[in-house]
């Protein structure tokens, strides 16, 4: 269980179950910066990111209970990410093009132009990707996550892990290729 300062994840989730609004404050204190970073990485805009994070807190409040996440961090990140991506759709339509589209472009390279939409849900595909990542080195796995889950920039990833930027690019490139091969083997995006 994650515990840094103050309440641990379990205690915060208990606050949600008790419908104690302190839960949101605690969540914000523990994971506010992380959520903001994810949102800002995606949207590239401070105001939008702050709005999305607040929406995410609200969504967490409405989701817990009945949801009881094993990892509160992953849960609020997931909500933030989804909200930010939705906002991104809107912003993109408005031709507000953040840097996160670079990450998207990297992923698009994995999918052939004539690929059919796979007959699989995002959840199932996520499980497949999880399985794949678990077979990769910790370096490759974490760099992949930071780039395509948190949408961190190459520079930020390199800085966080004390890698060179070219190492990060190398890891990403190799992991994408392996993931593509893996998914092809599983019958997707061939």
């Amino acid at each position: 269980m994650n515990e840094i300062n103050g309440l641990d994840d379990g205690a915060i989730i208990d606050l949600y179950f008790d419908r104690d609004e302190q839960a949101i404050k605690e969540t914000s204190e523990r994971y506010g910066n992380l959520c903001f970073r994810v949102a800002h990485n995606i949207l590239g805009n401070r105001e939008d990111a702050e709005e999305v994070v607040n929406d995410a807190y609200l969504a967490a409040w409405e989701s817990i209970p009945p949801a009881k996440p094993e990892s509160l961090r992953a849960f609020v990140c997931w909500i933030t990410r989804n909200h930010a991506l939705k906002r991104l759709d809107y912003n993109t339509a408005q031709r507000r093009m953040p840097k996160v589209l670079l990450s998207f472009a990297e992923l698009e390279e994995m999918i052939p132009d004539n690929a059919q939409q796979p007959d699989i849900s995002a959840m199932e595909l996520g499980e497949l990707i999880t399985k794949f990542l678990e077979t990769q080195s910790a370096d490759a796995r974490c760099v992949f996550m930071r780039r395509y889950y948190f949408f961190d920039s190459i520079y930020d990833i390199a800085k966080k892990y004390s890698f060179g930027e070219s190492k990060v690019k190398t890891l990403l490139s190799r992991t994408r290729k392996k993931l593509k091969d893996y998914l092809n083997k599983e019958g997707y995006f061939i």
Partner: protein, 374 residues
């Protein structure tokens, strides 16, 4: 958007990977003592490797004699990868772990990788130390879409003074490079197999020694060849073309370049060996060897096999002198070790262990050899 499905799927990745990515701290370097202890346990042969390591001039000689092309395209002989180095960096390895695991069934494709102490080149040989023909290299696929193999400080040992680059490193090369600098800990040993990893170390050359070979650099060759063969105006244009800005070539100069290319290999190699021979002769004289006898031996033929014996002789003696000095400085009974080796005909690992440990602790030690049997 085409990648929506992937973006959404990645959002559904297991939360534990999210936590891991947020908390992950890449492995840092082992303390030198820890590494030394691990390495010492694994060492089977030490000074033999040191002999190999210190063979920079020999490597260069082979490069000349065996028609080496940089980048894995030689028709026969060793495949050398030019490299250069920068302070405080060693080869990156963690990113290659998965690659190593993928290839672990392909053992032992290459036996040894030699990263010379000041990193002029990387050499791949088979398990017996013989050359690996380039056609045994399955591909020239680049490691990362770049010509540069990235190296970072992972702290096993400082491999060289500069960051090392490798030209067109294939995955196999990277595979071999990897164990040379990977964190050798229990987890790693359990992964690759405790019995399959030999670690060697060799001492660093001192600057004075290295400086003796500086003039063998390519530029000097070109310079001497050009000065002998060209008139002054052509020299200027030649070097402009070779090393600098664009120049307009007249027909004569183009013809010269064609001719130069044709004689380049033979003449340069011959001069290379000539220079090297002279240098070795001087070196022998300095150390009280019978240089004339060596030269006579060598002059009995230009055969590679013959040269190999000569190289080994010179090499071993030179390394011995180096180690002897080191031993005297550090109170190691190098003569006893040598005597034992001569008696047994092998390089005894137990005897070497102490020396390895001492070498590892010494700042001058910066080259690690690992046999590539994964």
């Amino acid at each position: 958007m085409k990648c929506d499905i992937l973006i959404n799927a990645i959002g559904c990745i297991d939360g534990k990977l999210v936590d891991e990515a947020e908390n992950y701290k890449p492995k840092r370097k082992l303390p030198i003592w820890g590494w030394a202890a691990s390495a010492a346990c694994l060492c089977v042969v030490v000074l033999f490797a040191a002999l190999l390591v210190e063979g920079i001039p020999i490597g260069r000689m082979n490069e000349a004699a065996l028609n080496i092309c940089i980048g894995g395209k030689a028709e026969h002989g060793y495949v050398d990868y030019r490299a250069r180095a920068e302070t405080g960096k060693v080869l990156i390895t963690d990113e290659l772990k998965s690659l190593m695991e993928e290839h672990k069934e392909q053992k032992p494709r290459f036996g040894y990788i030699s990263v010379y102490s000041y990193a002029f080149m990387v050499r791949i040989t088979d398990a017996n130390g013989a050359a690996v023909p380039p056609d045994c290299l399955p591909s020239t696929k680049k490691l990362s879409g770049e010509d540069r193999v990235e190296f970072v400080q992972n702290g096993i040992v400082t491999l060289s003074e500069k960051e090392i680059y490798s030209v067109k490193a294939s995955p196999e090369l990277a595979l071999i490079i990897s164990p040379a600098v990977i964190s050798i800990d229990e987890e790693y040993l359990n992964t690759v197999g405790r019995d399959s990893l030999d670690v060697w170390v060799a001492p660093k050359f001192d600057e004075e020694f290295l400086s003796e070979y500086e003039y063998l650099e390519e530029y000097d060759h070109l310079d001497s060849e050009a000065r002998n063969e060209l008139i002054e105006g052509q020299i200027a244009r030649f070097f402009e073309k070779k090393f600098g800005d664009h120049v307009e070539l007249d027909e004569d100069f183009k013809k010269f370049l064609e001719e130069y290319d044709s004689f380049d290999i033979e003449v340069r190699h011959r001069n290379f060996i000539k220079h090297f021979s002279r240098l070795m002769y001087q070196k022998c004289a300095e150390h009280g060897f019978d240089g004339d006898a060596i030269r006579g031996y060598r002059e009995t033929g230009g055969h590679v096999d013959l040269d190999t014996g000569f190289q080994s002789f010179i090499h071993e003696e030179r390394v011995y002198q180096h180690f002897k000095k080191y031993a005297e400085d550090h109170g190691i009974d190098i003569d006893g070790i040598k005597e034992y080796r001569e008696l047994t005909g092998v390089f005894n690992a137990e005897l070497d262990t102490e020396l390895i440990a001492r070498l590892l602790r010494d700042e001058r030690t910066r080259v690690v050899y690992v046999s590539g049997v994964l």
